[in-house]
């Protein structure tokens, strides 16, 4: 078995030497792979995968491949890439020169997203609280997303987890990462009811599939 890490341009800079990586070239693209060991999927292996993709990202544009993508051998990789060659090349162009930043927001006072059913007496009140919770969630999300998406080449809003108000990924030019972080800091100052976490730069996982 062979494990895929990323799709990059070919020719490309020398591969990082933190792992015995190989390249499968396909018509202007290169699939970066490594023979997969017998070991099962694990958190450690996940972080090793991430380390490789990030090392690649340091000096080239990458279309990251999700952890756990394995094919039989190099010729299977070549076939798979060839089949979607134009699509992959277009996706690589889309993320060229940019990285992914993640933004998540939670209310500062942690409480359940919906109304605590036990404390509500009437059905009408329950529904009002529900509608109100949805509306304030939408409002908070817009207040963050509108200014931030203006600073990004593309963005994807994720479905917030139960305790969260907002979660999104932004595709940001490499040299605009600092100003994006500064914009998040300003939004944090302006929205004291929210805790905002911004992480990155990540390989553009959220923008690799379209």
């Amino acid at each position: 078995m062979i494990e895929l890490y990323a799709i990059t341009d070919n020719p490309c800079p020398a591969l990082p030497d933190l792992a015995p990586l190989t390249i499968v070239p396909v018509n202007g693209l290169a699939a970066v792979c490594m023979p997969a060991g017998e070991e099962d999927f694990s958190a450690d292996a996940f972080w090793r995968h991430e380390e490789v993709v990030e090392a690649l990202m340091a000096d080239r544009d990458v279309l990251p491949v999700r952890y756990g993508t394995r094919l039989d051998d190099e010729s299977a990789v070549a076939r798979a890439v060839k089949e979607r060659r134009d699509e992959l090349a277009a996706a690589l162009d889309h993320v060229r020169g940019a990285v992914e930043l993640s933004v998540r927001a939670m209310p500062t006072e942690t409480r359940r997203a919906g109304p605590p059913a036990a404390e509500v007496s009437s059905g009408a009140e329950y529904l009002r609280l529900r509608t109100g919770a949805d509306a304030s969630r939408d409002h908070a999300a817009r207040a963050l997303h509108e200014p931030l998406s203006g600073l990004a080449r593309a963005s994807v809003e994720g479905r917030p987890r139960p305790q969260e108000l907002f979660r999104a990924a932004y595709l940001v030019e490499r040299d605009a990462v600092e100003s994006f972080a500064a914009a998040v800091a300003r939004l944090q100052k302006a929205n004291t009811g929210l805790s905002i976490l911004c992480t990155g730069p990540w390989p553009p996982y959220s923008f690799a599939e379209r």
Binding site: F41, S42, A43, F46, L101, R104, M106, T108, T110, G114, A117, A118, V120, S122, G123, A124, E125, Y126, L127, R130, T131, D134, G158, R159, R161, P162, Q163, E164, V177, F180, A181, V184, A185, Q188, L194, S195, I196, L197, C198, T199, G200, P201, W202, E209
Partner: protein
């Protein structure tokens, strides 16, 4: 990991506390041991029920927004959804599931709930 934080809120803990352990996420791919079977089945069934509950609740909220219901009908609907919400919480607790457990990652389609 720390060098990945571009902006941290004053309180970082809520973000960390809510992260399920990665090992858990990976092991959920295949989990066929008999002891966890009941929990797995309950998880699937409750996921579907929760999906329907949320859909119906949203539908009801929309109808209320458009003003098509009498006060009495609103009250009855509200009571019903409140009761459903409470029962779901009880069932989740019984099977040791969190709200996030009742969500499925549908790959390219995003998440179920």
């Amino acid at each position: 990991m720390r060098d990945k934080v571009l902006h941290a809120p004053r309180e970082l803990d809520p973000f960390l506390g809510e992260l399920p352990p990665l090992d858990h996420a990976l092991s959920r791919r295949v989990n066929a041991d008999p002891e966890s079977l009941e929990r797995g089945l309950a998880q699937l069934v409750l996921t579907i029920v929760e999906l329907l509950r949320q859909l119906m609740e949203r539908q009801a909220l929309r109808r209320i927004d458009t003003g098509g219901l009498s006060a009495e009908q609103e009250e009855r609907l509200g009571q019903t959804f409140m009761e459903l919400d409470r029962r779901m919480a009880e069932l989740r607790e019984e099977f040791g599931l969190t709200e996030e457990d009742l969500n499925l990652d549908l790959g390219p389609l995003g998440r179920l709930l």
